[in-house]
């Protein structure tokens, strides 16, 4: 709470009141205080305070299912455990593979779609809107209904694959198979988020002024050459923005995977957030889970810093 007052008093000192506003009631300084205060208060109460609590807990052996048990300080033990535990590293690799695979596929598909839509064929506006629908849906509900599509006997997905490739539909199970399960979550993620990448890339392509292409035409640059020397470099900041947005979101991925595979089979799809849920709300190792949460948050925050720099670069255009 003391922290909040400090921040607010800093805000309050912000702008010296002008003569006019001193005459007419509330000063600009007062309004700033009044307008930003509640937002900061809520964020401090529901984001920063819990974060500090989590940091404190991460040095203890506290278990939320035994609130009355004595709490012991364990120092950095949880952190050294996390950084040396092969299981945690295996989980991080699962997460990294998921993030890299989904981003690679979504970028290729999304950019290709944006490039095609930018040909401005008739009715492209309508089809763009249709393509955008999956990304607005609830990831949890999407994960849940894909379990139905992935059913080996009755599911539509196996039958479509069978129709295309000729493999019998009941000869494979997407969710239950160790080698296919990682692809099952990648496919759903790509289905959901390619539109997102497409939309950002489309903005990038549309930001390129036409006269650059006209100048290239005058210089008789081939279409291939134009793509590599104009289109791609000029759309690059937007592509980077999409990469970083997707990177952060998929690093945190929880809801869709929790309902689709719940980390299984074994731990083949156990992303960082799923491990965190198990430790915190199934094994009730609250202290250890808090330490893991801090490690995750620091990682994402690092990514986030890069992301804000990229964001500013796009803005300056």
């Amino acid at each position: 709470m003391a922290e909040k007052h400090l921040l607010l008093s800093q805000l309050a000192k912000a702008t010296p009141p002008t003569v006019a506003s001193r005459v007419r009631g509330l000063s600009d300084r007062g309004i700033t205080w009044l307008f930003i205060g509640p937002t900061m208060a809520i964020l401090l109460a529901i984001n920063i305070f819990p974060l500090i609590w989590a940091i404190t807990l991460s040095f203890t052996n506290y278990r939320a299912n035994r609130p009355n048990a004595p709490i012991k300080w364990v120092g950095l033990a949880h952190y050294t455990d996390i950084l040396t535990d092969p299981d945690v590293w295996a989980g991080m690799q699962v997460t990294a593979r998921f993030v890299v695979t989904t981003i690679a596929i979504e970028m290729l598909l999304g950019f290709a779609l944006a490039y095609l839509i930018d040909r401005k064929f008739r009715s492209h506006g309508f089809w763009t809107t249709v393509i955008l629908i999956p990304m607005m849906l609830s990831p949890a509900v999407v994960g849940n209904f894909w379990t139905f599509l992935y059913q080996p006997q009755i599911g539509l997905f196996n039958h479509l694959i069978s129709f295309i490739t000729g493999v019998p539909p009941s000869s494979f199970t997407m969710i239950g198979d160790v080698s296919l399960a990682p692809w099952s979550i990648v496919i759903v993620d790509v289905w959901m988020w390619t539109p997102y990448v497409m939309l950002i890339c489309l903005a990038g392509l549309r930001s390129i002024p036409n006269d650059i292409y006209e100048a290239a035409e005058v210089d008789r640059a081939s279409a291939w050459r134009q793509f590599w020397s104009i289109t791609l470099p000029m759309a690059l900041p937007f592509i980077m923005l999409a990469v970083l947005f997707r990177g952060i979101e998929n690093f945190k991925m929880f809801d869709m995977v929790n309902l689709l595979t719940n980390g299984g089979p074994g731990s083949t799809t156990e992303l960082a957030s799923i491990t965190l849920k198990r430790e915190a709300f199934e094994k009730w190792r609250t202290g250890y889970a808090s330490a893991l949460a801090i490690v995750l948050f620091v990682t994402i925050f690092g990514l986030g810093n890069i992301y804000v720099k990229a964001l500013n670069r796009v803005k300056q255009r």
Binding site: P50, F121, A140, P195, L303
Partner: protein, 316 residues
């Protein structure tokens, strides 16, 4: 445009345009198959929904929707024969399966929770976000960039990470499984989006409007209320829809912090079960009713989607 540039990027040729159309429409149709399948499954009978191979042609039934909204008990045909004759079409439908409607299901209360929590948190996030965005847009705020970055960074925390201390905090305060607790939580999460988006919209309103109003004798607050707010109404409406969609879709906090009274729809849908496993037509019906509002909003918002998903960074 001369013939030499007909195939350039400036003016795509007829062939390349047609090819692009074919590919894009193919992708759009393929990506709609899962949603179409869910829509269709909602109108199947339970046996049709698990037929092997999957049935594309079937006689439509409302059994999924009836099962979604009711709980039923299995009875012997002899017992059903002793009952007064079924008066409504859904009673008849259920009795034809040798069941009797025992009551209403939890789907409707969960849907109402989603609405209350969604609208409540959206209202708070938009009101607080509007005034904060105005201050950030117009006044000299010390450490402005740091504060804005801090507000954005609250969105980067993995929900599960923040859920651990929130769970403990809410347990202390008695806010677990309450609507007010979820409204506050979603308000906090939505504030980052709301402040960033609205600051972008506010920045686009020329300062001259308020300055003129203030010269005419308005106070700063009157100018904000009577001049800036009407100008920002489109932005505020769009921001509200984005906040509403987030709260509507949210799952991680909902599944960890609610279990009954305040549970929203996403954690509930996987638990729509019938006799011997998931009742897929009812699940599909519940999913359809849950997704339809979002599809409508997506169509309404299509021009502003880009701005919403990039926190106002890309404005087209």
């Amino acid at each position: 445009m001369s013939a030499t540039t007909a195939n350039s990027v400036v003016a795509p040729g007829a062939f390349s345009r047609r090819l692009a159309a074919v590919l894009v429409i193919f992708y759009a149709i393929v990506s709609m198959i899962p949603l179409a399948w869910i829509l269709l499954t909602g109108f199947k009978t339970p046996p049709d929904s698990i037929a092997y191979p999957p049935k594309i042609l079937f006689s439509p039934s409302l059994e999924g929707y009836v099962n979604l909204f009711t709980t039923r008990t299995r009875q012997t045909p002899e017992f059903i024969a002793t009952l007064p004759p079924a008066t409504t079409w859904y009673d008849k439908l259920v009795r034809s399966r040798n069941m009797v409607i025992a009551g209403s299901s939890k789907y409707l209360p969960r849907y109402v929770n989603s609405l209350v929590i969604g609208f409540g948190s959206t209202f708070l996030a938009v009101v607080l976000g509007t005034v904060a965005a105005y201050a950030f847009s117009r006044f000299k705020v010390p450490l402005k960039d740091d504060l804005l970055f801090f507000i954005l960074s609250t969105r980067m925390m993995p929900p599960i990470a923040i859920a651990i201390p929130i769970y403990l905090m809410y347990r202390e305060l008695g806010l677990i499984d309450t609507r007010i607790g979820m409204i506050l939580l979603y308000t906090a999460v939505n504030l980052s989006l709301s402040v960033w988006l609205l600051k972008g919209f506010m920045d686009e309103i020329p300062r001259e409007y308020e300055e003129a109003a203030m010269i005419d004798g308005y106070s700063r607050l009157q100018a904000f209320w009577k001049v800036v707010l009407p100008q920002a109404s489109t932005g505020i409406a769009a921001t509200a829809i984005f906040c509403l969609i987030f709260s509507w879709n949210e799952y991680a906090f909902a599944v960890l912090l609610t279990s009954g009274d305040a549970q929203t729809t996403p954690p509930f849908i996987p638990f729509i079960i019938g006799e011997g496993g998931q009742d897929w037509p009812a699940v599909a019906a519940g999913t359809t009713l849950f997704l339809v509002p979002i599809v409508v909003f997506t169509i309404l918002l299509r021009k502003l989607l880009l701005r919403g998903i990039t926190f106002g960074a890309v404005r087209r």
